[in-house]
């Protein structure tokens, strides 16, 4: 059974159809890369998975249990949505760390708000471990503005991991970074993949997608044009549109 099963997702903003009949599934421990040109709907898809947008049609199931059905309002109640969100984590392109909290506080805030005080020391210990895994053990007391972009993004990854989501989503995690800082973030994501973290990664780093992801989806104009193993899709694309897209990348 797949960990994640997405079926027939549609999303419109006014008159523009942004997602059309998006279906895919993801096995536990696998990494899925989503590639595609600007405006193809990649961010919107991640936002739908994280309940930041409400799809107009389609279903989302985790471990065989339907957690969202556009046709069934009972799956969309605010309180339950808040719980169901926790199946997913989201790392934003622009980090979105909370500026008034230190790196460690950013990582532990949500956990502390969910648990009572007796658990807090355990939450902090786990937060420190996560920061150490991100190579930030010595930065736990720093505020976001005292950290480089790459460090901020690694804190954001630790913050998302702290709630132990089933699927961790990344929306172009390195696009807001200076080129010399992308490496440290990609390294962290690569090590997560090696530890079999289930991930969906929207990225423009083709070489990274090929090496780290198990599967790749190529999106264009709100539809999935091609999907398959990472090597297949990136090195031997079957569709003309995928070839053109990759050729444009190879040039630049």
């Amino acid at each position: 059974m797949s960990l994640l099963e997405v079926k027939g997702i549609e999303k419109r903003f006014g008159d523009t159809e942004v997602l059309k009949d998006i279906s895919f599934s993801l096995e536990e421990g696998k990494a899925l890369a989503i590639i595609g040109s600007s405006g193809s709907g990649k961010t919107t898809l991640l936002r739908c998975l994280n309940f930041l947008e409400k799809p107009d049609a389609g279903t989302i199931s985790v471990r065989g249990k339907c957690i969202f059905d556009a046709a069934d309002p009972a799956t969309q109640r605010e309180n339950e949505v808040r719980q169901k969100r926790l199946h997913f984590g989201l790392v934003f392109q622009s980090f979105n760390l909370f500026p008034q909290y230190t790196a460690l506080e950013n990582v532990t805030l949500a956990g502390k708000l969910r648990q009572d005080k007796s658990q807090w020391s355990a939450i902090e210990r786990q937060g420190m471990e996560l920061l150490e895994r991100m190579g930030l053990g010595d930065r736990s007391g720093h505020y976001p503005h005292q950290l480089s972009g790459g460090q901020q993004q690694r804190v954001a990854i630790a913050r998302a991991l702290a709630l132990q989501p089933d699927v961790l989503c990344f929306d172009e995690p390195t696009s807001a970074l200076d080129p010399e800082l992308t490496g440290e973030v990609l390294k962290v994501i690569r090590s997560l993949a090696e530890q079999d973290t289930t991930m969906i990664i929207v990225t423009h780093e083709m070489a990274f997608a090929r090496d780290v992801a198990d599967e790749v989806i190529f999106m264009d104009g709100g539809v999935i044009v091609e999907q398959g193993s990472a090597k297949e899709v990136i090195e031997h694309p079957a569709q003309e549109r995928t070839r053109q897209f990759l050729a444009r990348y190879a040039e630049s």
Partner: protein
């Protein structure tokens, strides 16, 4: 010397009235401003337009004019005469109400800027972490909003200190009124010009204290960006 102590004594007493008006205005306008700012951001369009129109009128006309209107117009319109209690308490009450409404409108715009200035990404990050809207407001957005509104609120506070003297247009016997009285005749003295200028010292001292307090508050919030 005797003249000096008499004048200062009278100014002290009347400046207390300015301070009282200052405090009452803040007490009323700080929360009322929040209500008005929610109204001006309301998704229900008629309420939003009504609120914004009121804010526009209040901010677009002189406070002095508004004081005249609230104090004199009801008395002219109502058959039963002026609704304000007779004497100085009525004048002070009218001034307080007008000051609260006026400043609440200014504050509401500052709050609105503060609320809308916090990037939506902050709220979305909170949502994705499973926080409730309440938790997001109190644990994530509020402090960032406060940080944004501290400098403009500092300006408003200092303007308010000086504006309290406008209450003398409806004969609230605040400090400038008291200073002016010596020019005419008061406590047996007449023709003294200097008490009027001297009132400036009171305003300077008080706005100096406010400036220091706000500087400290800004520094306190300087630990994050």
């Amino acid at each position: 010397m005797e003249q000096f102590t008499t004048v200062v004594g009278a100014l002290n007493v009347s400046f207390l009235l300015n301070l009282k008006l200052f405090a009452i205005t803040l007490l009323g306008a700080i929360p009322l401003g929040l209500v008005i700012s929610f109204g001006s951001m309301c998704r229900f369009t008629p309420l939003r337009w009504l609120t914004r129109t009121v804010v526009w009128i209040i901010r677009g006309t002189p406070l002095m004019l508004q004081l005249y209107i609230i104090f004199f117009i009801p008395g002219m319109m109502l058959e039963s005469g002026s609704p304000w209690p007779a004497g100085s308490s009525g004048r002070f009450l009218a001034a307080s109400i007008m000051f609260i409404i006026n400043y609440a409108c200014y504050f509401s715009e500052i709050y609105r800027g503060g609320i809308q200035g916090v990037p939506v990404g902050q709220q979305e990050a909170g949502l994705v972490l499973g926080l409730t809207r309440r938790q997001i407001f109190f644990k994530v957005t509020l402090l960032q909003m406060v940080k944004r509104i501290v400098p403009p609120m500092g300006n408003e506070f200092i303007t308010l200190v000086k504006d309290t003297s406008l209450a003398n247009v409806i004969s609230v016997q605040e400090i400038i009124w008291a200073g002016k009285a010596f020019f005419k005749t008061s406590h047996g003295y007449s023709g003294l010009m200097w008490p009027i200028f001297f009132t400036g010292v009171y305003f300077l001292a008080f706005s100096g204290v406010l400036t220091l307090l706000f500087d400290r508050l800004e520094k306190k919030l300087d630990y994050f960006k």
